[in-house]
Symmetry: C2
Subunit: 273 residues, 2 copies
Amino acid sequence: MTHPSSGRPVDDTAHAHDAEILSARWPTLHSQDYEANRLLRLAPAAEYERLAPHLETVRLTRRQLLYGPNEPIRYVYFPQTGVLSAISHLHENRAVEVGTIGNEGMLGLPVFLMSDRAPLEAVVHVPGVAKRVSADTFRELLHDCSEFHMVLHRYTLAFLTQVAQSAACNRVHSITERCARWLLMTHDRMQTDRFPLTQDLLAIMLGARRPGVSIAAAGLQSLGLIQYTRGRIAITDRKGLENAACECYGIVRQHLDRVLPPDAQPATPPASS
Amino acid sequence: MTHPSSGRPVDDTAHAHDAEILSARWPTLHSQDYEANRLLRLAPAAEYERLAPHLETVRLTRRQLLYGPNEPIRYVYFPQTGVLSAISHLHENRAVEVGTIGNEGMLGLPVFLMSDRAPLEAVVHVPGVAKRVSADTFRELLHDCSEFHMVLHRYTLAFLTQVAQSAACNRVHSITERCARWLLMTHDRMQTDRFPLTQDLLAIMLGARRPGVSIAAAGLQSLGLIQYTRGRIAITDRKGLENAACECYGIVRQHLDRVLPPDAQPATPPASS
DNA sequence: AGGGCAATGTCCGCCATCGAACGCAGGTCC
DNA sequence: GGACCTGCGTTCGATGGCGGACATTGCCCT
């Protein structure tokens, strides 16, 4: 099932049809070609080089559980593609997404924040590829990476902001608004307009019932904003979706891009100037 | 209106009747007597001493705005008594609390996290006293305080957990449950069973309407769990309240106490071993 | 081609909460 | 003592979303 040859992604549970997504990218791990993950991209060259040998590229498959609530976190993930979710579980069967992680961020903040676990579950939402480091190695390496340390601080704040906004949003906004917001956030983290997503899953993400999401999604579709069939969804009118979504989308996005500009270079320049 | 003599708290808007709360405490800023704030308490002596000269004690008055959304944060606050709230503001008039801060924590995490602002508002909820440092000084001092740095990392995680839990809680639990939870969280941060609190304010905190809170509060009172009149509330049956509250209370509390034990000593022991 | 499952559409009754208003009472100030 | 404000209780209709169930429709598998 896996393909244990040299540079290939480690993969426990891959489906064959996920493979083509990543065909172009992986053997060039630690050189200066474009790094898809925003955080790694913002690491200065020296610190990136230090990290690189310990980064392994793995494939993330749909619904894969990366860690459970209050379980020790064994790896820290830097997604290149795909989308992950941090999910809070309440008393049996109720579960709500509290945070979304894609190539703008990392999964495993608790490791950075001096703990080895958190009461959240991490699940793969949209399949993709990530680089990962073992938690222990990561902890050690951080000592010598002051610049990257700061990058992670900023990301921590951005993530905190996202979660905080969700707390308010979950209280105030309608299913349709939240649905639109969620789709936009996911779209931001994707390279294509089409991605796999069932309404079942979406319902959990939004902390709503599936029929409710069904209606909301049908509404958005009838407005021509999205289009979906059996677990595949396509964003067909982004502007329109932004209108349909609540303000929360813009607030979180702007804050993220302010503290971690998507096109910024590392503060200690690679070689020039 | 203020009292600019030597060690006295700076105070822009104090009401006279808040004064007795703090009569015993303030002139002994930087010595090793018991520090009321859990984070400062966990700082090793050397680092605490470095911080101490820059800490000024201020009085926090009810409804005082400590900073507004997206405003530069000028001070970092370590409450000794009283309770603060981080509030998310949505499109005009809707506002929801996303985090609570008392003597277990600090206000101004964005400063620690390499930013100078966040889209949250910070308001005093229950009057009290806090130590504060200017944001700039705090940033500088942090470089030399690696142990305290770690403490703050842990607190960041605890706060993140609290906010994440609120996101889920806000989506799922009833007003009564959230009301009970909120009272418990506040009670944890208080030294007494009675404190000022209007249902108006409580409604904002819970992101609900005032009449809704009125009913929930009346319910809790009729069960003998609390008691209130005109802006003063008393916790009369803590155990009972814990039963009435949702699981979120316990989850957040346990997580906090695990990453930052309330009675722990600084990791670099004062003199022994 | 047909069985079966996964994903979606839809219907019902119901309840918590909303939105907006009005009435009352305790405390404060003149 | 009276005016006033703030905090609390309560009412009414409206409604979004819940809980649970059932009917469809693609897609996959054999």
